[in-house]
């Protein structure tokens, strides 16, 4: 049995016609860093709050370390929570904020003092214990929130979009720091984010969600390199998706006939012939100038962004984005006839959804 198990949990708010989360099932191992990733409204925060106990699921059960806690009240769950707005107590100073959970547990004053000091050191705020909350910067508040959640030695650390209120630079620093602290103390962590980069950089596994259900669960590499479907492919990174016909599939490689490009090869986990589609990341495509008779299409526009050049190529009736590493060679001006190509391992066949 996994450390934290969510079995078929659902949540439907009264007066809504569609559940916010439906039949969410997931096993999380001890010490794992899991991200719940998806656009806003996908149900990731609801899921997190059900784990925390702030929202009661309408169905399903939650087990932690072999014990059911589906109906355990929040204050008895022993989970560390960090909120998007930090939710620090404005009437208490930094040390008192961190000490809050310890006081609730009835620890002695000296124990509290030692643990608070330790927690503040962990987040590098050892010198700011006396400060009032409103005297802190956003990053510092974030660290206090983290210290407050960690000091109670929670069974699970739950982070609800903790970085989205920080500016871009600080966000990267804090992201790395959260990951390194998590690694250091080995705490099981569930991290809710809508930012793919955060999820990719921090997680052991990512749960991609949309409209209340799981689209894919996998390591960052799996979800990026082998997106299970169109939604995942489009949500994580940029993707060119070609519809075509799968002519042949064998030993994990398929040959796909694509209008305007001809027969192309791709990695295939699904082994189904017939209608299908294939995804290639823009930076995994090659673009070469060629005589117009052999061309797949023509360059529609070109954007130079320093270390790379992005071409938009008109192929038949669609546009394909190609990202090419900038080199000393001259760029291809709009109108240039070009051929597109990729290695078999650069493309992947997507699981076809019923609706397409």
């Amino acid at each position: 049995m996994a450390y934290l198990e969510l079995s078929d949990i659902s949540k439907q708010y009264p007066g809504t016609d569609r559940p916010s989360v439906s039949d969410f099932t997931m096993q999380i191992e001890k010490g794992e860093f899991i991200s719940l990733l998806g656009p806003s409204g996908c149900g990731k925060t609801t899921t997190l709050r059900m784990i925390a106990g702030l929202i009661e699921p309408t169905a399903g059960r939650i087990d932690l370390d072999g014990k059911e806690l589906t109906h355990t009240p929040v204050h008895q769950r022993g989970m560390g929570l960090v909120f998007q707005n930090y939710a620090l107590f404005p009437h208490l100073d930094v040390a008192e904020n961190v000490a809050f959970g310890l006081t609730m547990r009835g620890l002695s004053k000296s124990e509290v003092r030692t643990k608070v000091a330790g927690a503040l050191d962990l987040v590098q705020l050892g010198h700011l214990g006396e400060r009032r909350i409103k005297q802190l910067s956003g990053g510092q508040q974030q660290r206090v929130a983290l210290a407050r959640a960690l000091v109670i030695e929670p069974k699970v650390l739950l982070l609800d979009e903790p970085l989205s209120n920080l500016d871009a630079k600080l966000r990267d620093t804090m992201r790395d720091e959260i990951r390194s602290i998590q690694q250091k103390i080995g705490i099981t962590t569930v991290f809710v984010t809508h930012d793919q980069d955060e999820a990719l950089a921090t997680s052991d596994r990512i749960v991609v969600m949309s409209e209340g259900h799981i689209e894919q669960v996998g390591t960052p590499e799996q979800v990026y390199e082998h997106p299970a479907n169109r939604f995942v492919a489009n949500f994580i990174g940029r993707a060119n998706i070609f519809d075509g016909k799968i002519l042949d599939t064998a030993q994990g490689v398929a040959t796909v006939q694509i209008d305007g490009l001809g027969a192309m090869t791709a990695v295939d986990d699904h082994r189904q012939l017939g209608q299908g589609s294939l995804m290639v990341r823009p930076h995994r495509m090659r673009i070469t100038q060629c005589p117009s008779v052999d061309a797949h299409g023509r360059v529609g526009s070109m954007v130079y962004v320093g270390d790379s050049v992005e071409y938009s190529v008109q192929v038949a009736d669609r546009r394909v984005t190609v990202q090419s590493v900038s080199s000393g060679e001259p760029h291809l001006p709009p109108g240039t006839p070009v051929q597109l190509s990729w290695g078999t391992r650069d493309a992947v066949v997507l699981k076809e959804e019923a609706t397409v």
Partner: protein, 302 residues
């Protein structure tokens, strides 16, 4: 090359027509003048007149002597009866404020938290009594608390008492009706205060192991302190200066500073004495406001 850069023709944007400071100040001054004039005519001058009146000497038949003396103040301060009256007034203010907080707080908390789509209507209902005069509401209480009123009838019907309790025409009635009359003010102040914190704070506290009771006392209550203090000051001041309700419900048995001012001015016709009590009441206000400011500063500095 570098010079060229520097000489790039900069489009001269005329410095924003900065209104000369003096002009701005003049405008501000001009805008405050009507208000200040209003204050002067409606507040400062009457107060000066009142101060002058308090230094005259009144006799029991309503005659007023043009003196400059502290006779009226001395009359008040040397009589234990008036000290007790001042104490009763203070006590009334404190007790009414306490109960107003007690009954208004849960209502205000509910109104802030409810996700009912009638929230707006409910809030309007809670403060709607302000739309009717307190005289009307006081008469309402006279009826409700009377011997044949709903309260006594219910008590007797349930067998809790066998004869009607004296709930009106005495201090009890004054306390009960004042608490109710002050509730909308308290609710308004509390609502404004509650607006300042999010439910995430409570969630955070709960996740850290606080049960509902501890969440309330350690987080919700301290954070609503500014609202509570504002409401308390408002209600306290309104209570100790109220005279309509004590007169209507008090049955002629409840003597407070405000009713005494009224009686001295209109029944005994001793205007200088009434004026002196007014200033003593004003001093009491000042005293309370100083205490309030101190408390507020301590809370804000946290």
């Amino acid at each position: 090359m570098t010079t060229a850069l520097h000489e790039r023709p900069t489009k001269t944007i005329p410095p924003p027509a900065e209104p000369p400071r003096r002009k701005l100040r003049g405008t501000v001054l001009a805008l405050t003048v009507p208000g200040l004039l209003g204050m002067l005519v409606s507040f400062v001058l009457p107060l000066v007149y009142l101060l002058r009146m308090s230094l005259k000497t009144g006799d029991s038949s309503g005659m007023i002597e043009d003196t400059v003396s502290f006779h009226s103040y001395a009359q008040f301060l040397t009589d234990g009866y008036y000290w007790k009256m001042a104490w009763d007034t203070l006590l009334l203010g404190l007790v009414v404020t306490f109960f107003a907080i007690l009954v208004s707080y849960p209502i205000a908390l509910f109104l802030v938290r409810t996700e009912s789509r009638f929230k707006g209507v409910l809030i309007a209902l809670a403060i709607a009594p302000l739309l009717t005069s307190s005289v009307v509401r006081t008469y309402g209480w006279i009826v409700l608390l009377g011997n044949q009123g709903v309260v006594n009838k219910t008590l007797q019907a349930t067998g809790l008492t066998d004869h009607p309790l004296a709930l009106v025409n005495n201090k009890v009635g004054v306390y009960i009706s004042l608490v109710e009359i002050m509730m909308p003010y308290m609710i308004l102040a509390l609502l404004a205060g509650f607006g300042r914190f999010s439910t995430d704070l409570e969630h955070a506290a709960a996740s850290l192991g606080a049960n509902r009771w501890k969440v309330f006392w350690r987080v919700v209550w301290p954070l609503s302190m500014p609202g509570v203090l504002t409401g308390a000051l408002l209600v306290f001041v309104l209570t100790i200066s109220s005279f309509i309700t004590p007169r209507l419900v008090g049955g002629g048995r409840v003597f407070l500073l405000a009713t005494e001012i009224y009686d001295q001015a209109t029944a005994t016709l001793n205007w200088p004495f009434a004026a002196a009590i007014s200033f003593i009441l004003l001093a009491l206000f000042g005293f309370v406001i100083v205490i309030y400011q101190r408390a507020l500063r301590r809370i804000e500095s946290q």
